[in-house]
């Protein structure tokens, strides 16, 4: 069957189950009830402290086929997932389902655990590095489920993703299970992605390298939800959170795009008192944030809040008084960690607070503007951030679809040509974020406005911005690069791309690399 954006999806996918096709960004109704987590009981005098990860495995006990969850607050510096799976492999466990909010190159050992049958299911929001390549090659029999950050929180609350054991990397914890992300030598900042798991998992394990006196403050995740505390030597390298593109681009074309994006935002009329803003951590997005900051400074505008992966640049905007608050679900550098620890206007929130579409209001709904990247975008404004031009999984929505859906103005920034490849095409290889939630594409060769947004079109023209019709922009790209052949992948389904509401927006097929 075809879903709302014309993607061919089977009604039932082996290893995934029956499909609810994507029917529009806000078409899906929330289920009637959240699921009820298990009740827990700890009596006076009982200890939560365990001597090793292996002891936790025996105590719970962790059995074949269970779902273990992990989080990416250490990003490419995470060491907990690898250590826990090494224990699982050592104990001869099989058929585990791994629910991890993001997978980074550091998680390459996962490939061996898949090959040996220790891990047979993966549920994640983002995959970069060798694991993505292996998954695209079909190493896993069941398709990977790719969710959005908000969708993951929703799936947990709706019991579509049931977590048996959540392992939470804790930069600091006390023996009774209070956890902080801003204390200790490995302070990494917000623990927002671990919060839904702490609320809903059957068993919650704090894995820490710094055990502090009771009671630890400040508390990110509290003793009321944490069942076990285990101290190990090494949980992660906070320098790894800086992995990827978290500095302002020096690429002159990226700067041209960033400047244009800031002019688009200015011309939209949204930059006024109370302005709220999210930016990705990509170099061009950060540069655009800096330009937007300059506009606010010039016009004396104070914004309400800024969010996204938090970096030194956003902290600086807070400290200069350009915004009143930072809302923080994830930190991307150590300045951000420090700010979260010390500035009361820098607030730690959960993934559900950030982006869950099925609660009483997530913060993306309060966004005026978001700047997002794209691997590919099509003339219907659907965006691919999952697969590369070779069909291989190299990313995922993360918060992309969530922020796009919530913001009044969603700006996608991208080079019209990446190398020789036009990023603008008739049909993206994998749809991640639906075009109805994307308002403007900004490239170095001009901007294209979603035809549904005539209001913006007129504003941009009045501001004499270089507006082009989206097909015209696509033709321009093809004139420069030549018309590309459209690669076709028809292998079995290796990943199911869920929209934030749990419907299926697309599938990814096997690539024989």
């Amino acid at each position: 069957m075809k879903n709302k954006i014309g993607r061919e999806i089977p009604e039932n996918i082996d290893g995934y189950g029956p499909v609810i096709p994507f029917g529009g960004a806000f078409a899906q109704e929330a289920p009637a009830r959240r699921c009820a987590p298990v009740m827990k009981q700890v009596r006076p005098g009982e200890s939560k402290l365990m001597e090793s990860i292996e002891a936790v495995f025996h105590r719970i006990p962790i059995r074949n086929g269970m779902t273990l969850s992990f989080h990416h607050h250490f990003r490419n510096g995470d060491s907990v997932l690898n250590q826990v799976l090494a224990v699982a492999a050592k104990l001869g466990l099989k058929n585990l389902n791994i629910m991890v909010s993001s997978i980074f190159p550091v998680h390459a050992p996962l490939i061996d655990h898949i090959a040996s049958g220790v891990v047979t299911g993966i549920d994640t929001n983002y995959v970069s590095g060798p694991v993505g390549k292996a998954l695209s090659g079909g190493i896993l029999a069941k398709p990977v489920i790719l969710r959005t950050h908000g969708g993951r929180a929703r799936a947990i609350e709706a019991a579509q993703a049931h977590i048996d054991v959540a392992f939470i990397a804790a930069p600091a914890a006390d023996a009774y299970g209070n956890i902080s992300g801003v204390r200790g030598e490995t302070a990494c900042g917000s623990l927002g992605y671990a919060m839904p798991d702490a609320e809903y998992a059957d068993h919650v394990v704090a894995v820490t390298n710094q055990l502090e006196d009771y009671p630890l403050t400040p508390v990110s995740i509290s003793q009321t939800r944490v069942d076990y505390v285990v101290k190990i030597d090494h949980i992660g390298d906070p320098r790894g959170i800086v992995s990827g593109t978290t500095t302002i681009t020096k690429d002159p074309i990226g700067l041209v795009i960033a400047r244009l994006a800031s002019q688009v935002i200015e011309a939209s009329g949204l930059v006024k008192k109370g302005f709220s803003f999210q930016t990705g951590a990509g170099g061009a997005s950060l540069a655009a944030a800096r330009y937007v900051g300059q506009i606010m400074e010039r016009d004396g505008v104070t914004g309400s809040f800024i969010m996204g992966g938090i970096t030194a640049y956003l902290v600086d905007m807070l400290n200069r008084g350009l915004f009143q608050k930072i809302i923080d679900v994830q930190d991307f550098d150590l300045d951000a960690v420090k700010s979260l620890a010390t500035n009361p206007n820098h607030i730690e929130v959960s993934a559900g607070f950030y982006a869950n579409p099925f609660n009483s209001g997530c913060v993306v709904n309060q966004l005026d503007t978001v700047i997002l990247g794209a691997t590919e975008i099509d003339t219907d404004f659907n965006v691919n951030v999952v697969t590369g031009s070779d069909g291989v999984i190299m990313g995922g929505s993360g918060g992309h679809s969530d922020a796009a859906a919530g913001a009044k103005l969603t700006v996608v920034v991208a080079n019209l040509l990446r190398g020789r490849l036009p990023i603008l095409m008739d049909r993206v290889l994998t749809a991640t974020t639906p075009g109805e939630t994307v308002d403007v594409l900004v490239t170095e060769q001009g901007i294209a406005v979603n035809p549904a947004r005539q209001d913006l079109q007129e504003r941009f023209k009045a501001a004499r911005l270089p507006v082009r019709e989206v097909h015209e922009l696509k033709q321009l790209a093809e004139k420069i690069a030549g018309v590309p052949e459209v690669p076709h992948f028809d292998g079995r389904i290796v990943a199911v791309v869920e929209y934030r509401d749990g419907t299926v927006i697309d599938v990814v097929r096997q690539v024989n690399a």
């Binding site: 002159p252 041209v256 170095e444 004499r464």
Partner: protein, 289 residues
Amino acid sequence: MLEFMRSLLFVPGNNPGMVQNAAVFGSDAVILDLEDAVSLQEKDTARFLVVEALQTVDYHKCGIVVRINPLEYNGGADIAAVVPAAPDALLVPKVQSAADIQAVAAQVSAHEKPGQPEVKIIALIETPRGLAEAYAIASADKRVIALALGAEDYTAALGAKRTRDGLEILGARTTLLNAAAAAGIPAIDTPFTDINDEEGLRKDLALAKQLGFKGKLSIHPRQIEIIHEELNPSKEEIRWAERVVAVIRQAEQDGVGAISLDGKMIDAPIVLRARQVLKVADVLQGREV
């Protein structure tokens, strides 16, 4: 086309990425460089690349200039290859005399295809001898549309140190401006070479504008926007110019001879400057951002 020469951006002629994207930075012209930016052993490949780019890349409204090598360093091969591919102009380096220009112009004529628009010449003055001959160079051939200053080689020849405030090239700048003006063509200022010093660039531009330069060479895309901001007529200048023109028009209607504005006499040179300001403002008004 070279309707405007506020900013001319150098791009290394052997770098495909820069050559194909040169127009997106918004400079009035790009200079595809076959000379200093290309190593000796890559002169041939750069020439092929620039020729292909001239034939296929759409540079929109951006003027296209090619900096060739001096004739004594195989500049003739550059001319033979590049001229038929119809750049707007050649930037000729290390020009020392009118004869240098005439030699280049002769070769350009020989290689122009019938019916192609005339390839212009911008003479880059970067030696004491060239500066001494600047007026003769500027008026050596009708193809010469501008003089440009290359201060690095020039100060090296003097044994002077280049500084941020540029006092050492004040004389060169005014000499060049005067020679160009005498020949009725514009003068283009030397590049500001510290690409990380935005404040220094702005000061340098303010001085250049005060002296009478209407354009500047640039070595980095980041400089373009700043160059335009500093060299464009300011709002105050435009308002002043509009008032001058309005007063003149009124005086013509009233048949009054001597006119003043804010207590100052308005004579022909002031009117000329006001009209120049408005002409530039008009062109800018019609442009996309």
